[in-house]
């Protein structure tokens, strides 16, 4: 209906084609450097040995899992208030990425937990809140797929994401309060190894790489989302025939 909005999607779709593949290749190179830095150059921890190196994947993934949720809620808010199509697509496409980061954080945490704690899983504050975050993502994806009208679905999931944003600090802090009654072994363990600069630098670098990865995947997924929404439109047909 509104020509500027459709043009906006088309503009994004055509302009990001090259940027997207360039970003992916760039991220891959950065990632390889970061992995080499973290796995070979960074010094061995005197307490945990080499097993601590998993934190170079684990910690950025956990950070990104929270950050992606915030981006999803923020873009969802923009989509609800100003009804910008591209933000709707960005919001819902954040959900699978965030779920993916959450799963990576959980799985790498389990792998790290086995040699360090002697068990794969502890029902501790951080782990439980991360698991709940995964369920929030899954709920949003399930709700989105249940609606057949996708524009309405995105409005509903955006609202859910925003309400869930209020939920996140409550989960986080209340779980900590809940745990102070028992014990809190996890959080402080990380602080000792990451304090040293030679270990901290690769971690920050990996955080940057994960952000780049998030960006390139988000652009790819948004292109996919635009394609799915506009595949019956004229301009997409013309693009396909080219």
């Amino acid at each position: 209906m509104n020509i500027s909005k459709i043009a906006n999607l088309k503009f994004f779709y055509t302009k990001t084609r090259k940027i997207s593949s360039f970003l992916s290749a760039f991220t891959l190179i950065l990632f390889c450097i970061g992995i080499y830095w973290g796995l070979f150059i960074a010094p061995t921890d005197y307490l945990q040995g080499n097993s601590y190196r998993i934190m170079y994947v684990h910690v950025p993934a956990a950070w990104l899992s929270m950050q992606t949720y915030m981006i999803m809620a923020a873009t969802g808010f923009i989509a609800l208030v100003w009804k910008i199509k591209i933000m709707e697509i960005a919001s819902i496409q954040c959900a699978p990425i965030g779920a993916f980061f959450t799963i990576i954080a959980l799985v790498t945490g389990m792998v790290w937990g086995k040699p360090t704690w002697g068990t794969y899983w502890v029902w501790d504050a951080r782990l439980t809140s991360e698991l709940i975050l995964l369920f929030l993502y899954i709920g949003i994806m399930v709700l989105y797929s249940a609606y057949s009208d996708k524009r309405q679905a995105i409005k509903i999931t955006s609202l859910l994401a925003i309400i869930g944003l209020i939920n996140i600090p409550i989960i986080h802090y209340s779980v900590e309060w809940w745990n102070t009654l028992h014990q809190g072994p996890t959080v402080t363990k990380f602080e000792k190894p990451s304090a040293h600069i030679t270990m901290l630098l690769p971690l920050l670098y990996m955080f940057f790489v994960f952000n780049m990865y998030f960006l390139s995947i988000l652009i790819k997924r948004m292109r996919f989302g635009i394609y799915m929404r506009e595949k019956n439109n004229k301009w997409m047909e013309e693009l396909k025939n080219d």
Binding site: G139, L143, Q152, I156, L159
Partner: protein, 220 residues
Amino acid sequence: MIKNLIKKELILYFRNLNNVFLPLIFFFLIISIFPLVLGPDKLLFDNIIPGVIWITAILTTLLSSNNFFRDDYNNGVIEMYLTSSTGVELILFLRIIACWLFTCLPIILFMPLVSLLFDISFEDSFVILITLLMGTPILISIGIFGSALTLGLARNNILTPIIVIPFYIPVLIFSASAIDSVSLGLPYDMQLFILMALLFLILPIMPYLLKYTLELSINN
């Protein structure tokens, strides 16, 4: 107008008394399943019975708020609500309260009987009762919010709980923490105050949120 609205809600619930008794029966049925599954170990039940009561209360609130707007949606009453000029928020608020009165309050009133059956000490059962009294209105209103979110879908029997349960967690944590504290002999007023704060934060916001959600769900 408020008087008429309250009267209408009461009549609706009293005409179909099943609505009042079924959650109660469901609650007692689930409670009595636990000893069957876990064995009648007195020591074990002393530890887990507050959790069992809370889980059962959650299941009951989930089931009773699951299809809260369904009939009204099919009748077209929701559209009438949204197009009417009078305060929809007030109607929604009264309906939340009515739903709580007829599904959760009976359970809370029967808590002394549950304490008797499982031999819970007076102070413990008092704290459980207080947490239920403040927690279940929050759970009910969040459940109703979930049912409003899924209103546009044909069948949503298991989808709504999946969406809603993560939002239950703050309430659960503080209730469990209060009950833990009282059984350990620690002060528990902080958790109860936080629960109360949550209650008085969520209840006034919820009608407005519900109205917005209904608008989103209905506009196709």
